[in-house]
Structure formats: C-alpha cells, structure tokens
C-alpha cells in the first residue's frame, strides 16, 4: 500500500509522535496527560475540520486547474490523446482504443477527452484507489500526472504530490538504459507465429551482450482461458479476448522462441534518449491498468507496442500508418525506415539454424560422427573421435548436445533416454576442460526490413487458348514461394485475400478470374536431423475450362501433406512432393461438384540472386461427384527488379487449357 500524504498530514505525524512518547516515558505523568489531551484533540478534530477545510481548498484549486486546462485546450493536445489512446472516429469525435473502464476517471472518458481530463484532475486530489492496479490516481497514472503537473504548474501545497513507492520500485528495478525492439521471425510450421511477433526489451545499465537475457521485456498478449477450445481462433480474430501488458524476463522469451519454437530473433536497438525511455516506462506502468480487446489482424501485439513507442517519442506517428492490419514485419520495416531511430541490429539464431550452420561448417565425415555420437555414446571411444584435436572434439560434442536438445524440445513427451544421453554427452564435454569457441551463425533469411512490403498489386497480360487477356491482381498479404525471398523465411508461403480481374479481348468479357482466401505452403527440407513434414492448404476460386464450358467459375479447397529435400547442385534447389485431397464446386461439373485425391511433385530453385524458378506437376483423380481426372503443369519464373518490384512469367496447363502470362508486380 502506498503511503498516503494529504492535507491532515501534520496531525498524523503528531499523533504518531505522541503515541511513541506515551510508550517510552510512561512514568512522567505530565507528559502522559498532555498526550491524552492531544490525542483527544486529534480524535475530535482530525475527522472533521481539517478534511472540511481541505475539501474546500481542494475544490477551489480544482476549479482553478480545470479552468486553466480548458484555457490551454489541453484535452485536444496530442499528448493527451496518446496517453488515453484516443483515435478520431468516423463522426469527427474521439474514441479510445482502450477497453477497460478502470483506465478512465470519467464514466464518459472513452469518448470524451475533456471530461476525462477534468475527472483526472479531480482524482489527483484523492487517495482513493483506482484502476485495476488499485493505487491513487497520481500513482496509477504517473505519466498523466507528470504531464498535467508540468503543463498546469501544480502548486504542491494545494495539490500535494503522493509518494508512489510501487512505481518507483518497479521503475528502479529495470535499471533502464535503452529500449530494443525484438522481432522473433515468422516460422510457418508453427501457425501461431506465421507473421512473427514483436516485443520490447528494456536494456539495463551496465549490461553486456552476454547478459542481455537478464533484461525485462514489455510484451502484449491476449489472455486466453485454459479451456478455450475451438473458439480460440475465432475469438482471437474478432476481439473476443482481452490483451494485457506484462514484463516477462527476456530469458523466458529467448527460450520460447529460440529454443522451443526454433525461430530466429532480430533485435533492433532504438536510439531513445533517457527522457524518452522514462516516458515509455511511465506509460507502460499506466497500461498495467489497461486492457484492449485483442484483434489478431490490427490491434495485436505490434500495434500496441507502436502506441507505446509513439508516446515515448510523439514525433514518430507510427500507429497512424496502420489502418486495416498490423503485420509485425511491417512495423519492423517502418521503424527501421525512420532515420536515426535504430542504432544497431543484432541477430540471435534459432537452435535449428545453429545446427544447420554448424553442420555446413563440418566435412561430411565429422558431420556424421557428431550425429552418431548423439545416437550412441560408444562413439566417444572410437579411434575416429579420439584422434581429433581437443577443440574439434568439443565442437562435435556441442553439436551432438544441440541435436539432442532439439529432439527433446520438438518431440511430444520425449523418451527419457534422450535426456540421459544429453547428460552423458555434456559430462564428456565437461571433461575436456576448454571453453567452446564462439561460433558465428550467418542467418538464412536476412533481416525483415530488407524484404518486400506486405501487399502486392500486379498487372499482366497473356494468352489463354485462342484468346488474349489483360489482368489486374491485388493481394492483401503476404508472400508466395516465387516472391523475392530476402527478409522472409525460406520455403514458406502465406497468401491471404487476393483478387484477380481479367478481361478477355476476343470474347470481350471481364470477369473475376481468381480469388484466394488463403493459400499456405510450408516446405521443410528433411535430412538426418530435421524430419518435419511439409504441408499446404489452399482455399479459393479460379476459372476453368471443362467439357463444354469455356470459362467457368470453380470454387476449390485443397490440402496436402508431404516432404521436401534441399540440394546445392546449382545454387539452391528444393524438391517437394505432396499427397493431397481436393474438393471442387462448379456448375461445369455433373452434380455441380467433384471430390478426389492425388499428388504433386515440384522443384523450386534460385537460378541467381534475382531469378527464381518453380515447376510443378499434379495429378488428381476425382471419385465423388463428377468422376473425372485432372493433369496440371505449372512453370513460373520471377525476376527481381527492385526491393518492391518484380517481373513474372508463368505458364499454367490443364487438360485442353493453356495459359501463359507475363506480369509486373509491385509491393506496397
């Protein structure tokens, strides 16, 4: 409980003093007498006259402050809007994105900045506990208090400041020196991290690179009840959960992303002044009283962190750039694009990428030896191992331990012998008595701000059967296998909300050619260590030629599971194969539908840094509805012109249906 300092303070102090005198000098009658008189006096007066007088003074001064605030138009200042998270609404008024009533001092606070300002001033006179954090308003809303105190030049005698011990202790514990934006990159095999995540790290004074994990983070996440079940994704998308701010230690976040989910982490040190760091933390403290309805696409982790950065430096206007959705990588790109905002970038590789790079570093024989050690400790006494130098032995044992820990973290209920084997490997390692050498891991995917932007518009033209066409496509997000891969997780595709309009010239028809709801492909090259399957899912519509129907709309749902392999014959090739199931719905089919299964094989290859090629062939046989089969070919090429501009040449073949298209694609 914070100490309360308000007007009757002198009496309170006297009271305590008197009480202690009473105890320590019981024999001095006179003193005792005086004390009793004094006590009675206080008991009589304290609850009545000082409070009344205080209330009077308080009211008078409050009126004065409110008037001053009105005159200065504080309620329409940007600072106040940042503090209360007000956004202009469609009708020209204001509405706060904040959804916890305890965050506002006025019942109308969510939509009325002036009423909120007046109520806040009034509450500053009171030691009543407010907000979810249950503190006096001065302490629960330290940033509001500080700003209003400075702008209205509070008279400390008429509005005494309260001691906010909880805040002071919390703030001091950060030992804050600077702020770092943390971006655990997207990793497709975990749908929870398809788009990546962002959080802030509060770096401590005197920290070195090897003690960064001791810092606290500021993290925003939805609070999901344990038995959410299938309602989870739906409620997550439509704001059915509350999001809260927390200060999870960075070491836990590193474990979560790097060790367990195998995601690379990018760290962007922000160039904030000491004052900006303080502003950020003060507002973060206030947000302990806040909760926001969590919307997966827009008001998500990244969005609310931007609001915090906007408050730290009100010249940034970061949240203004996001209207419909906030993709974490976009927020990173935006922050990196602000001149002078980022002072340094650090890379923290995932465990799986550490293993990949260490394996690349070794000749094949030693690579296999490390793998054998992880399976059979008898290898440690083999001549192949014994003849190696100490440093190389240490390297192989470290790699074997990395394998084992990767296996332990990625298998559901790992067999206990994996853990025992890891202990044994580490015991052998500890007996070598030399420290492991620093191993530099070069990232497979460059940092996100070098990648193309999220949305894409294309114009193209070509031939289909006996006709020519022009088409325009717009795609909300995010990345497909042929898009320029810099800054994106390799071999991963997420296309969401794409629409293509096409005009056929000879038959003079404009139609909705294609629409994609979601088209996701995750290729995970397998080898002796990594065994994750590849998978894909695609839902949307396209235009088909089938039987007598020349151009027919066709809705489809396709899903498949398979495997991929990577090779380095030319530059980098990924081969993949899927077993898949598909359902079609179109009036071109008998009974309007067909359902079947089949397979796809394909190749994805980088010919040069700018030139990429993909080829695939599928065969599907439909056993339900219109009993038919389908043989498809696809060959596509992309050439990158600029970070956000590329060219495509694509050929699609189906039965009696050939489609060649050349297009230019711009990312925005």
């Amino acid at each position: 409980m914070p100490r309360i300092q308000s007007l009757p303070k002198p009496q309170l102090a006297n009271n305590q003093h008197g009480a202690s005198t009473l105890e320590s000098k019981p024999r001095v009658f006179l003193t005792r007498c005086w004390c009793i008189v004094l006590l009675l006096f206080i008991l009589l007066l304290a609850p009545t006259s000082p409070v009344d007088a205080g209330a009077l003074i308080e009211n008078e001064y409050l009126v004065e402050l409110i008037d001053k605030g009105l005159e200065a138009k504080l309620a329409s200042e940007q600072e106040w809007h940042l503090l209360l998270h007000y956004r202009k609404d469609l009708f020209g008024g204001y509405s706060s994105e904040q959804d916890d009533p305890g965050f506002f001092m006025s019942p109308d606070g969510k939509t009325n900045p002036q009423a909120e300002l007046d109520a806040t001033l009034k509450q500053f006179f009171s030691d009543e506990l407010v907000g979810r954090s249950k503190q006096p308003a001065q302490c629960a809303f330290v940033a509001r208090y500080e700003w209003l105190r400075n702008r209205l030049r509070f008279d400390e005698n008429r509005l005494p400041p309260m001691a906010c011990e909880r805040f002071e202790r919390w703030f001091a514990d950060f030992e804050a020196q600077s702020i770092t934006l943390i971006f655990p990159s997207a990793f497709l095999n975990n749908p929870a991290s398809m788009f990546g995540h962002t959080l802030l790290r509060v770096d401590q004074r005197g920290q070195t690179d090897s003690t960064r994990i001791l810092a606290y983070t500021i993290n925003y996440a939805a609070d999901v009840p344990p038995d959410a079940g299938i309602a989870y994704p739906i409620r997550g998308i439509f704001g059915g959960y509350r999001g809260y701010f927390s200060t999870i230690p960075y070491y836990l976040k590193v474990q979560e992303y790097r060790d367990i989910e195998n995601r690379d982490i990018w760290e962007y040190r922000l160039n904030f002044t000491g004052d900006q760091v303080r502003r950020l933390l003060m507002h973060a403290w206030e947000l302990g009283n806040a909760s926001f309805d969590y919307f997966f696409f827009k008001e998500n982790c990244s969005y609310h962190l931007l609001a915090l950065l906007d408050y730290a430096d009100p010249t940034l206007y970061l949240t203004d750039e996001f209207l419909l959705w906030t993709v974490p990588a976009d927020t990173v790109r935006l922050i990196a694009s602000k001149p002078g905002l980022v002072s340094g970038i650090a890379y923290r590789p995932s465990r799986s990428n550490v293993i990949r790079r260490k394996r690349e570093f070794l000749p094949a024989s030693e690579r296999e030896l490390a793998h054998r050690i992880a399976q059979d400790l008898g290898e440690l006494t083999s001549p192949a191992f014994a003849q190696l130098g100490l440093a190389k032995q240490a390297f192989l044992l470290d790699l074997a331990s990395d394998y084992l820990r990767y296996r332990i973290e990625t298998t559901d209920s790992p067999p206990p012998e994996l853990k025992e084997r890891n202990r044994a490997v580490l015991t052998a390692r500890s007996q070598l008595r030399i420290p492991s050498q620093e191993f530099m891991v070069v990232p497979f995917a460059k940092q996100p701000e070098l990648g193309h932007r999220t949305s894409r518009a294309s114009v193209g033209g070509g031939w289909r059967n006996n006709d020519t066409f022009e088409e325009q496509t717009i795609r909300a997000g995010y990345h497909d296998l042929l898009d320029p891969e810099i800054g994106y997780t390799p071999n991963a595709q997420i296309e969401i909300a794409s629409v293509t309009m096409r005009t056929y010239n000879r038959i003079n028809q404009t139609r909705l050619e294609r629409a994609t709801l979601a088209n996701i492909v995750s290729l995970s090259p397998m080898d002796s260590v990594f065994h994750a399957p590849s998978w894909k899912i695609n839902a949307g519509m396209n235009t088909i030629r089938f039987d007598s129907c020349q151009l027919c709309s066709n809705g489809f749902l396709n899903g498949g599971i398979g495997a991929a392999m990577e090779s380095h014959w030319l530059k980098r090739e990924v081969m993949f194969a899927f077993a898949e199931a598909e359902a079609n719905y179109s009036r071109a089919y008998e009974e309007d539908h067909r359902v079947g299964g089949g397979g796809t094989v394909g190749l994805l290859t980088d010919l040069t840094d700018r030139w990429k090629l993909m080829a695939s062939g599928s065969y599907l046989r439909y056993a339900l509805g219109d009993k038919s089969d389908d043989f498809r070919w696809f060959v596509g090429q992309r050439f990158t012109l600029l970070q956000n501009l590329s060219l495509r040449l694509e050929y699609n073949h189906r039965d009696h249906d050939n489609d060649v298209m050349f297009s230019m694609q711009a990312f925005f």
Binding site: R166, W170, P191, A192, R212, A222, P226, P249, R423, R433
Partner: protein, 169 residues
C-alpha cells in the same frame, strides 16, 4: 485436455494455487511456491493442435504472472521478480541451458548467472572453469533442487582462491 494440463502447470509453477504446488512438489524451488515444471510442460505444445489454437492471440506463457502493476503474487511484485528470488528463479527456469553451458565452459546463461551472483565480468572465465570442473556434481544437485545448486555454487565461490576475493556478494 493438454492445454488444461499446461495451464494448471503454469498456475502451479507460480504458486497461484500454492497449496497444490506444495503438495505436488515439496521443496523443489525457491520459497514462493515455484514447482519444478517450468518449460517442460510448455514445450509439449509442439504438436500442431494447440499451436493452431494459439495462432490468433499470441497467447504466451507467463503473461499473467508478469502482468504490469498487478500487485504481489508468488515470486513477483507488480510483475517483477522479487529481488531475493532472482537468482534461484533464473537458475530454475534456465536449468537446461545452464547445464549445457557449464559443460561447455561458457555461454550467456552462465555469464548471467555469474552476474546475478555478484561475480565481476573479469572473473567470469574463472567462474566458467570452476562450474565446468564441477559439472557432474552441480547438475546432479540442480536436478534435485535449483536452490541447492545455487548454494553449491556459492559455497564453491567462497572456497575458490580467486573468486572468493572478487565476488561482491
């Protein structure tokens, strides 16, 4: 079902159900009811089901325990780890990384533990060598109780010719 197990574990871990925690895990962690479950259970979310469910919310481990200005609960005060629990909590939650790095004679978790224990940066190499040398006994102690491991390291520092002089705590 799996999620329930996980949430329960998290609750147990941070002493929100202190009675249960004590019953299930007598004396295995720091004095704030912290059980020995930690990430072992979180990591069972590897299979795709729970991950799909987690997809739209960024739901994450520990966000309640470390909630800003949430008052005192378990090992935390307004979301910050209590000063007297910092070292043992760190040792507990990073035990796997710490044991790997002790064997390897270096690493950021080990450097961070040394810092928490008051070993100045210029003595970290000596600290690393010491924990590497005592790897087997430290890990054995730590598997039973991280508190005991921290104590064992402290004792080792106290009797170490170099570290005993340099340590600030």
């Amino acid at each position: 079902m799996l999620k329930k197990v996980i949430m329960l574990s998290v609750a147990v871990l941070f002493g929100m159900q202190a009675g249960l925690a004590m019953a299930a895990n007598p004396d295995t962690g720091p004095g704030c009811g912290l059980g020995k479950l930690a990430w072992a259970d979180y990591s069972h979310q590897k299979n795709i089901g729970p991950q799909v469910l987690m997809a739209t919310t960024n739901g994450t481990f520990g966000s309640q325990t470390f909630g800003i200005s949430t008052g005192t609960s378990g090992c935390t005060n307004d979301g910050k780890v209590m000063a007297e629990e910092k070292t043992t909590l760190f040792a507990q939650l990073n035990f796997e990384n710490l044991s790997q790095e002790m064997a390897q004679g270096q690493g950021e978790h080990l450097a961070s533990l040394a810092t928490l224990m008051g070993v100045p940066a210029e003595q970290h190499a000596a600290f690393f060598a010491m924990t590497q040398e005592r790897y087997t006994s430290l890990v054995k102690t730590g598997e039973a109780s991280p508190v005991a491991m921290v104590k064992a390291i402290n004792d080792a520092i106290a009797t170490h010719p170099v570290l005993a002089q340099a340590s600030t705590r």
